[in-house]
Symmetry: C2
Subunit: 139 residues, 2 copies
């Protein structure tokens, strides 16, 4: 188990937390809790599913991971916070997730009825067909 560079202050370093972190460090995919659990099963010291939820909640609060449930709507996905601003395109056929390199919000001022609205973040996904599925659909 490797030593993460920036362990948040005041958090105990437990086997379970390090294991979850290791899974997230090992990929750039967005993982659901069950996917994280599946990858944990391979290694020893597998935490229970409630612990995984608690660890992820904690990590999210501390800014170690980012969470979004925008992709499938009914299941949250998590990724290590690499301090990149990222959005994703999702293939509606095969559910493949493709990272986007740019962001339309960089130079966008929303037009809102509440003019005092203080923007702190945003969430964006693009839906469509990946090249492969688009070809399968034919013309």
């Amino acid at each position: 188990m490797n030593e993460p560079r920036n362990w948040p202050t005041g958090l105990k370093k437990t086997r379970q937390r390090l294991a979850v972190l290791e899974v997230l460090e090992s990929t750039r995919e967005l993982l659901t809790v069950s996917e994280i659990c599946a990858r944990l099963d391979a290694s020893e010291g597998t935490p229970s599913i409630s612990t995984v939820y608690r660890v992820l909640d904690l990590f999210e609060k501390k800014g170690v991971v980012v969470k979004t449930n925008a992709i499938s709507g009914d299941t949250a996905v998590y990724a290590l916070n690499r301090f990149e601003h990222r959005h994703y395109a999702i293939c509606v056929a095969c559910k493949k997730i493709i990272a986007m390199d740019n962001c339309p919000m960089e130079s966008f001022v929303p037009s809102l009825a509440d003019e005092g609205f203080h923007v702190v973040g945003h969430d964006l996904q693009i839906m469509g067909f990946c090249r492969e599925c688009d070809q399968k659909r034919g013309g």
Copy 2:
């Protein structure tokens, strides 16, 4: 019960479906299923909750309503499809939802590794504090 202009072909006009449609026609808010049920309770012929789900699924497939679960993540919200392109800003404190009049995607080409990706839609929300909640937070 009024006659909707564009009833999708091949759908039986039932009391329950018309009632759900009426609720959605009566507001521009985004409503959860339980909110819809609450508004149905006032009128007679209240459909069961499973029927409300089924009616909404059907309406969504037919393009009569739009569904999104991006707002709260764990609860879907529905609105009549008024064939407007709309996004929303959500106050993270009071959960107020404010419609946005413009869209950053109008002139945006996503940069994706899959160059054949065929975009068919997108979903965007802005998070922040509404004027009121922002003031309460103080400086």
